[in-house]
Symmetry: C2
Subunit: 267 residues, 2 copies
C-alpha cells in the first residue's frame, strides 16, 4: 500500500466543483472513476482545496492510497490518457503514508482575472470576469495592502458556523495590470464606459489558508473600491467589524483559478 | 443607405470558420442572422479574413450595407445583446460606401500560441497548441528572421491554383517566450520530455497579407527548426525552391488567433 500525491489542473467550466455532489459531475468523481479503472481497485481521492462550481485550477492537490504496483510517477501519464481534456494531471509522486493534503502548513496561491474592457473578449470569457465600469487600479492596490498580514477575516467569508477560527494570514495580495489599448478604443464615442486604458487585471493572493468564498469576496470588495463606492481606508474598519454585510459582493466563480499549493514539509 | 464596419472577436472552437458552409455553423452566418433580425432587413456581411474552422479572432473586420436608421456606433451594443457569448463585436462605425475590407492595403497581425509543457494545461487547451517535445526557441528566432521581408511564399502555403501572385511582405515575425517553471517540474524523473524550461511560446506575425494556411505552415516549420530536424539556414533555400513539400506541417488551427487588421486609408 502506498500514498500517491497528484497535482491536478482543470477547467472548472463544466463541473459542479471539486466535491462529489448529488447533482452534476465533479472533478473528484472523475478522478475516482478513472483511477479506479486504471488501477483495478476502488479509489477515493482526498483533495486539498474543494473548489466551487466554475472555479479553475492549475495546481490543486489530491492524494489517494493504492496497492497497485504501477510506479507513482507513471500514474500521471496513464491517467491523462483516460481523463477528459478539461482535467490534466501535472505530476504524480509517492508521499509518506500520513501525508494529508489539508491538515498541513501550506501556502496557497489563487489568481482572479478581471477582463476590463468595453465589450467582452470571447477568448477569455470562461476564465475571467468581464467588467466595463470605471476602475481605479491604484485604489484597489491601496485597499489590498490593508488585507495583507494576519487578520480575522469574518467580514470576508460566507458564514459556516462550524468554522470557529477565522484568523488567516495573507502573505501577499497583488493587483497586476496588463494594459490593452484596444480594450476601450478612443476613436468611438463612449457613453457609459471608463475613459481610461483597459486591459487584464489579475488579483494574485497568497496565504496560509482561505475561508469559504474569501478570495471571491476580497475581489468583490476590491471592485467596490476600484469603482469609487468604497474608500481604501475603509478596509481596516470592515476587518474590525467582523460583519460580512460591510464587504463587497462575492465575485463570480469563473474568474478564479487555484494556481498552486506549497507544503512546508513535503513528506 | 450606409456602409458599416464591425470589429469582430470570436472563439472559433464551435464554428466551421468564417465563411458560410453547407455543414456547420459559421461566424458570418451568425452575424447575418442576428444583424438581419436587429435591423429588420436582410444583411450579408463581407469579411476581411476568412478564418478556418477552429481559428480565433480578436479583431477580424466585416462590413455590410444597411438602410436602417440605427446609428452605426450603436450597432455594436445592440448586436452584442443578441449574439452568442463566443462572438462579440468590439466596435462599429460608418465607413465610406466604397470601403472594401479585402481590396485595401492592410497590416494583419496573427498570434500562434504554443503551450510548451510536459502535460497539457486545460485552461489553455482550446487556444494553444500543446507541445512537449524539445524546443530551442533561439533557433526558432533565427529561422523566423529569414522569413521577414518580401518573398514568394509558394513553399509556405496550401496550393490554390487561382492565386497566381504568391509574393507577400512580412513586416515582423517574433517568437516570444514566457517561461513557466511548473511546465517541466524538475523534481520528477522525465523520460521523453524537454529538460529545459517550458512555458508559453507566442509566434506573432505581422504582414500585408497571408496566403492560405501560410501562418500555420510557418509555425509548423518553426517547430521543425525548434526540434532540431531542420537548420535555421535551410529557410532561405525552402523559400527559393517554391516547393510546399520542403516546409513543415500545417500547425493545428486552434492555436491561431487573428489579432487585428489595420487599414492604411480608413475611409
Amino acid at each position: 500500500m502506498k500514498r500517491v500525491k497528484l497535482i491536478v489542473a482543470y477547467d472548472g467550466t463544466n463541473y459542479c466543483g471539486w466535491q462529489v455532489q448529488p447533482n452534476g459531475v465533479s472533478v473528484s468523481s472523475m478522478l475516482n472513476q478513472h483511477l479506479s479503472e486504471l488501477l483495478g481497485e476502488k479509489i477515493y481521492v482526498l483533495g486539498a482545496s474543494r473548489t466551487d462550481a466554475g472555479v479553475h485550477a492549475r495546481g490543486n492537490v489530491a492524494v489517494f492510497d493504492t496497492s497497485a504496483r504501477m510506479p507513482a510517477e507513471r500514474i500521471s501519464y496513464a491517467l491523462n490518457t483516460r481523463l477528459p481534456a478539461d482535467i490534466r494531471i501535472q505530476d504524480s509522486c509517492e508521499v509518506a503514508p500520513d501525508f494529508h493534503p489539508r491538515f498541513r502548513k501550506t501556502r496557497k496561491t489563487y489568481e482572479y482575472k478581471i477582463c476590463y474592457r468595453r465589450f467582452p473578449d470571447p477568448i477569455n470569457r470562461l476564465y475571467s470576469l468581464f467588467y466595463h465600469w470605471d476602475l481605479d487600479v491604484e485604489k484597489m492596490r491601496q485597499a489590498a495592502s490593508y488585507l495583507v498580514g494576519t487578520h480575522d477575516f469574518t467580514s470576508f467569508c460566507t458564514n459556516k458556523p462550524e468554522i470557529k477560527n477565522r484568523v488567516r494570514t495573507i502573505y501577499s495580495l497583488d493587483v497586476l495590470f496588463e494594459p490593452d489599448p484596444t480594450a476601450f478604443p478612443v476613436e468611438t464615442p463612449r457613453d457609459c464606459c471608463a475613459v481610461k486604458t483597459g486591459g487584464m487585471i489579475t488579483v494574485r493572493i497568497c496565504g496560509n489558508g482561505f475561508l469559504y468564498n474569501m478570495v471571491r469576496i476580497i475581489v468583490g470588495t476590491l471592485l467596490e473600491v476600484g469603482g469609487g463606492r468604497l474608500a481604501p481606508d475603509e478596509i481596516p474598519k470592515i476587518l474590525e467589524a467582523k460583519d460580512r454585510s460591510l464587504a463587497g459582493d462575492t465575485a463570480q466563480a469563473h474568474g478564479l483559478t487555484l494556481m498552486n499549493i506549497e507544503y512546508e514539509e513535503e513528506n
